[in-house]
């Protein structure tokens, strides 16, 4: 497994990032965690629909996001808010979506992130199609798709990997192996030791990286992206990580895992290890940490305030969202819906 930063903050090798870049990555993880914590709290208060926390997976998502260029496509999941945010999806729209408003999916024009995929597996092939279009257009944009260990059991994983390989499409497959598909442990989902080795079945490179090491993830995804951009085709990156929280706010992990396992993984926390690294380099201070946290939480709070101030959609928008122009049956129904 490829890793660079140990849980105690020591490094294995010279890091290919400057201290400033390191601090930026850390700041991003702090902000992502603030979003995650806030979302959990809001869901408990009934202000958000079911929420799927990513606590413990910040490094995988921030590292991957940091490896992308503006204009690259991202097709990710319900658990990938931090990755999507790194790719330009504003917190406020992510929150709006989670309050149960379709307008949360309306990312700004210069953002190329698909709305989080709720179905497991179906979105991987979308990244393949996006990459294919870019290849045909002769652009240098690539597509990254992020998915869980569970998604690799779906037939759509197979078809997506195969299409990308066959047509040498600029696609990066990022699997966040977080130990579970809801209650079903990764070790029971498949008989291979790793997800990464499945890449061989498609004649594609596959690498397993320490998913709690933000720099390792960034480096691995950058390499995959570089490969894609230079016309050498797709790759699979498996980021080995762990979901610290429940599957979603509707889940009770006590039914299927030991607290001890969680504790073990908390010790490998992706934020803590970077903080320790920064401490070792003398680049961390309590004051800086507090500034980061305050800024993060202010940012999130204002995003929340924005989203919650959006009036609920008019009934009529149900009908105008369906096609470029509402069809006659929809116009008729819209009339009924709004005038009774």
């Amino acid at each position: 497994m490829f890793n660079l930063i140990n849980p105690d903050g020591s490094v294995r090798d010279r890091l290919p990032v400057t201290l400033d870049e390191m601090k930026d990555l850390y700041a991003a993880m702090v902000e992502a965690r603030a979003y995650d914590d806030k979302s959990m709290a809001m869901q408990r208060q009934g202000r958000l629909a079911t929420y799927a926390p990513f606590r413990g997976q910040e490094a995988a998502q921030i590292g991957a996001g940091a490896a992308l260029r503006p204009g690259d496509w991202v097709a990710a999941t319900y658990r990938d808010a931090a990755l999507n945010w790194m790719a330009g999806y504003p917190w406020r729209l992510l929150i709006l979506g989670r309050t149960g408003d379709e307008r949360g999916g309306q990312v700004p024009e210069d953002v190329y992130v698909l709305p989080p995929s709720i179905t497991v597996g179906g979105h991987m092939i979308h990244a393949v199609g996006l990459a294919w279009a870019e290849k045909l257009k002769g652009s240098s944009r690539i597509a990254l798709t992020s998915f869980g260990d569970g998604a690799t059991s779906e037939g759509d994983f197979h078809e997506a990997m195969n299409f990308a390989a066959v047509y040498e499409l600029p696609t990066v497959f990022l699997c966040q192996n977080n130990g579970f598909a809801i209650s079903y442990p990764t070790v029971e989902q498949t008989r291979t030791e790793t997800i990464a080795e499945k890449a061989e079945a498609y004649g594609m490179p596959g690498v397993r990286v320490d998913g709690n090491d933000v720099v390792a993830v960034m480096v691995a995804v950058k390499e995959a992206a570089q490969r894609a951009r230079s016309g050498k085709g797709p790759s699979l990156v498996e980021a080995l990580t762990y979901r610290i929280g429940p599957h979603t706010t509707a889940d009770d992990p006590g039914r299927y895992r030991d607290e001890a396992e969680v504790t073990l993984w908390e010790e490998k926390d992706p934020l803590t290890r970077v903080r320790r690294l920064l401490e070792r380099s003398g680049a961390w201070s309590l004051q800086w940490q507090q500034t980061l946290e305050t800024q993060a939480s202010q940012g999130i709070e204002s995003a929340v305030a924005w989203a919650e101030a959006i009036p609920i959609p008019e009934p009529g928008t149900l009908f105008t969202r369906m096609y470029a122009e509402p069809t006659p049956p929809l116009l008729e129904q819209a009339g009924e819906a709004t005038h009774g």
Binding site: A49, T50, Y78, G97, T99, G100, D101, E102, I118, T119, V120, G121, G122, G150, A151, S153, E154, G155, D156, A181, I182, S183, Y184, E188, Q189, T190, A250, D251, D252, R255, Y256, I312, P313, P315, T317, L318, F319, R321, M322, T327, P329, L330, Q333, A337, G340
Partner: protein, 325 residues
């Protein structure tokens, strides 16, 4: 007898079936350790073992296809798909294999299996978690499509489905899982797949529905009755084979009908019922059949859900308009 809600009645039925028949096995995502996302299989793995209450990888086509093979080889598999919106990856298995094996082999091989699927909206869920696409199963020859709306029917119909020699798509109304309780016999009993259930008898108008919309339909009936209207309430319960005679008998008597469902109007199963009524009761019909349904839109997210779901008011108004003609 015990006072049970639908979720408990289903759990009990599965427990009973596993105890009564060695051939019964359950398979699906998170149905074992976690007891299912709606806890319908809660405790069953502990009681009947991980060999018979099987957690599977996230692969719906695999689940249904494997269940099909098991059924052909003599087991009585009950597969669970977590939400109706996640059943489509298995649609090919259902349509092209499960529904056809008896026909393909002239009865030599059969697929006595059940696919249980929670369905319907109204719980503020995420995308794909709220659909009511029963019509795309009800159009498939070779299947039976069953939808209980009460705890008693839930138990009786599920036991009947598991015993049925043909494949059954068993749709469970999420919104009603824990909405009502009633006395449910603990004995092994079956409720016939096929006949509608006339829940209330009346003479002025027939309100016809199934699944979660039975709730609003009942409320509408009560409200209409308060205005002195005599309402017949029909729970269709089995979409296929459809009890056309039962529906026709009701509407021939009342002369008026409102069909209620959550799915979009166009091509919803209400079309079949409305068409059947008009084709067979034209001369006793005193007003056009009304359909009160979801709109021809994607089921919206939480904030717009109430704009989509057919309301008691819409049903009452449709009934009133029908009564005015």
């Amino acid at each position: 007898m015990a006072e049970l809600n639908i979720a408990q009645a289903l759990n009990g039925a599965l427990d009973t079936a596993l105890s009564a028949d060695d051939r019964v096995v359950l398979l699906g995502e998170d149905i074992g350790r976690a007891g299912g996302v709606f806890r319908i299989t809660d405790g069953l793995r502990e009681r009947h073992g991980a060999q018979r209450v099987i957690d599977t990888p996230v692969a719906e086509s695999g689940i249904v296809g494997a269940a099909f093979g098991m059924a052909v080889a003599g087991l009585r598999p009950v597969a669970e798909i977590q939400f109706l919106g996640f059943s489509y990856p298995a649609y090919d298995q259902v349509v092209n294999h499960v529904a056809r094996i008896r026909n393909r082999t002239n009865h030599r091989f059969t697929a006595p299996m059940v696919v249980r699927i929670p369905f319907g909206g109204g719980i503020g869920a995420a995308e794909h978690h709220s659909e009511s696409t029963e019509a795309v199963y009800a159009h498939v020859p070779g299947l039976k499509v069953v939808v209980p709306s009460t705890p008693r029917d839930a138990r009786g119909l599920l036991l009947a489905a598991i015993e049925d020699p043909d494949p059954v798509i068993f749709l469970e109304p999420i919104r009603l899982y824990r909405a009502v309780k009633e006395d449910v016999p603990e004995i092994y009993y079956k409720t016939d797949i096929g006949p509608i259930r006339v829940e209330r008898t009346g003479t002025d108008i027939s309100l016809i529905s199934w699944g979660a919309m039975m709730k609003e339909t009942r409320q509408a009936a009560t409200s209409l009755e308060q205005s002195g209207i005599s309402v017949e309430v029909i729970d269709v319960r089995t979409l296929t084979p459809l009890d056309r005679d039962g529906i026709v008998a009701s509407v021939s008597k009342t002369g008026r009908a409102v069909v209620v469902h959550e799915a979009p109007l166009t091509g919803g199963f209400g079309a079949e019922i409305s068409a059947t009524i008009a084709e067979r009761c034209l001369y006793s019909l005193q007003a056009p059949v009304a359909r009160v349904t979801g709109w021809d839109t994607i089921f919206p997210l939480k904030r717009s859900e109430h704009h989509y779901l057919p309301s008691v008011d819409r049903i009452v108004s449709a009934a009133e308009r029908t009564l005015e003609e």
